[in-house]
Symmetry: C2
Subunit: 407 residues, 2 copies
Amino acid sequence: MALIVQKYGGTSVADAERIMNVARRVAARREQGDALVVVVSAMGHTTDELIELARQITRQPEARELDVLLSTGETVSSTLMTMALHELGQPAISLSGAQAGIGTESRYGRARILSVDPQRILKELGEGKVVIVAGFQGISEEMDITTLGRGGSDTTAVALAVALKAERCEIYTDVDGVYTTDPRIEPKARKLREISYEEMLELASYGARVMHNRAVELGAVYNMPILVASSFRDVPGTLIHGGPEMVEQRNKVSGIAYDPDVAKVTIRGVPDRPGIAATLFEPLAEAGINVDTIVQNAGAEKIADLTFTVTRGDLEKAIELVRPIAQQVSAGELVSDSNLAKVSIVGAGMQSAPGFAARMFRALYEEGINIEMISTSEIRITCIINESQVADAVRALHKAFELEQAE
Amino acid sequence: MALIVQKYGGTSVADAERIMNVARRVAARREQGDALVVVVSAMGHTTDELIELARQITRQPEARELDVLLSTGETVSSTLMTMALHELGQPAISLSGAQAGIGTESRYGRARILSVDPQRILKELGEGKVVIVAGFQGISEEMDITTLGRGGSDTTAVALAVALKAERCEIYTDVDGVYTTDPRIEPKARKLREISYEEMLELASYGARVMHNRAVELGAVYNMPILVASSFRDVPGTLIHGGPEMVEQRNKVSGIAYDPDVAKVTIRGVPDRPGIAATLFEPLAEAGINVDTIVQNAGAEKIADLTFTVTRGDLEKAIELVRPIAQQVSAGELVSDSNLAKVSIVGAGMQSAPGFAARMFRALYEEGINIEMISTSEIRITCIINESQVADAVRALHKAFELEQAE
């Protein structure tokens, strides 16, 4: 008998009928002998509806209160799922994040899990019950309800799997696994049987629809295998796992990631001396602006062009913050471009095998796509290109790296 | 500066606009200097909607799960009310029943409050905040969420007022006080400025729409003054309080209560020996059937006719339970009547002043109303009459006891 933690997302529990369907799956699995902890999200669009309710009252709901409000969504679905299991004759009990022992920081809206005390869950499992846990929520040391931010229920599931030393964590969602790229752009995209945590993280720019990065990171740290599969269809999903044997076996591209929402800011003639980068980027961090790719080309005479990318929504604010600093440090002009996109090839072992970058650049060149910026990591090569060409780029790369062929 | 506990019912917080209206009242009151704890019910029909959601899953939702589900209704309105106060610039914080220290039995669906630990509330009040408490909910010793049953938010409010040694508890609702009788039946019904706990309890058969008996009983035990007033209109309400000076001052009828939902069962020829009544009524109690009036007329030869009343919905079940026992004890035939109603005159000091019963019977007689059964208490005389005549009876008694005149 294995202990499994499952998670079902909002679309999987959107109404009474779907909840009953999930309950049937859970009950059948329980009958096979596995001990089950099931994390549920809020039903369908509940979270958005609760936010709308708050907006009718105030444009700026206080974070603490919003957390308490939003947490009710997951509480509702946890009780309904439990009732559905009872209806099927399967003993079950719902637990809130607090009851499930999910201790977090007091940072409302995006609290990180600090501790998991699985005592109550273990007691209920010991009595043969399926334990249904309200995802996305925890409790602070001050005994206040917190929420874990976007993708929080995935994080709840992986954290519980780690704390309970589960055999694996299963994320059931409305897609049936992780694909070589976005099937909406490249219909030949192929579902991967397995993928490493690191590759999954790099693929996340489209893979975020599958599951949240924080949960994958947590899985990576504790080496908890995560299965991503469909809650609607009974087909094999994708197993996200680690282990050196897996990474070293392969030196090929696993998938193509892309992000159509990229804007860049270039500061010309930045004096090439220590501390300048910090001076420029600290105010952006303080304003909560996420800076993605940063490229600096040191030129002649100790000055450099420095380019960084942000999301389009943050561009105006970023320029506003950076312009006065650029003037302070006697940099040159500041230019921006808001019609960019990012396309990446992702694969473990890429760094140790030559030729991937060249093959990528050639494929883009042959498609007539100009490369604005390049950045690389251990398992990824990213090119910043014009946004209008992103679909062509994805398809060209998918073909160039022969991803449509079976593993 | 006084400490006041207020409670706003579901219709008072039915939508964002009404919540803002209540928040404005609360903020204005806070500005006058009072420390405020505000208990809120679930918005409008939320509780019924949540029950319907559960019914879509199962016909018999487990009580523990239903409690967790229903408790989310009050949690939602507590956060929205807090946001509304923030929007008005008034510091405030929402607390769940558990955070507010409401400890209860584990009897789901109708848990009684066992203890109130007001530490957290006092801390927040000390920081100048208005404390918004989710009504109707508590937490058991096993750290499970419980609900307090119908009228639970009233009970939360009075219990908190007692624990916090508040100056008084204010129940704001969609009626503007306690009337001499139901204004829908007698348009001349007059709002009472004050009423004793006991009178309020006796008037509850129509007054249940105003506030719940359990809360009034709790107020009586701890002598906590309770103001019932309108949350929509700024008019004086009714103060429910005790104190011997008040009761002894008066020996008059305060109001006319009625209950149109009465059925009776008569068992003829019951042997008049000890233990028979217990044998008959224990199965009814076990089946959760509430027996109201019981009248026994001992006749000749140690046999009696025994009559009791139940609600119409319980009649069939009551007959089913009582019939075999009546046969066992060799009683005579069993007859029932389901078209009855109850009308009562209520007033403190009635017992010590003669003539009330006679005046009541005469008023009914003059209206051509036959009295089926009579029962009396310290502060109440009740007649069981035909249901079709209940409105006439209320009006006749309201007039006979001159209730339309100002106090």
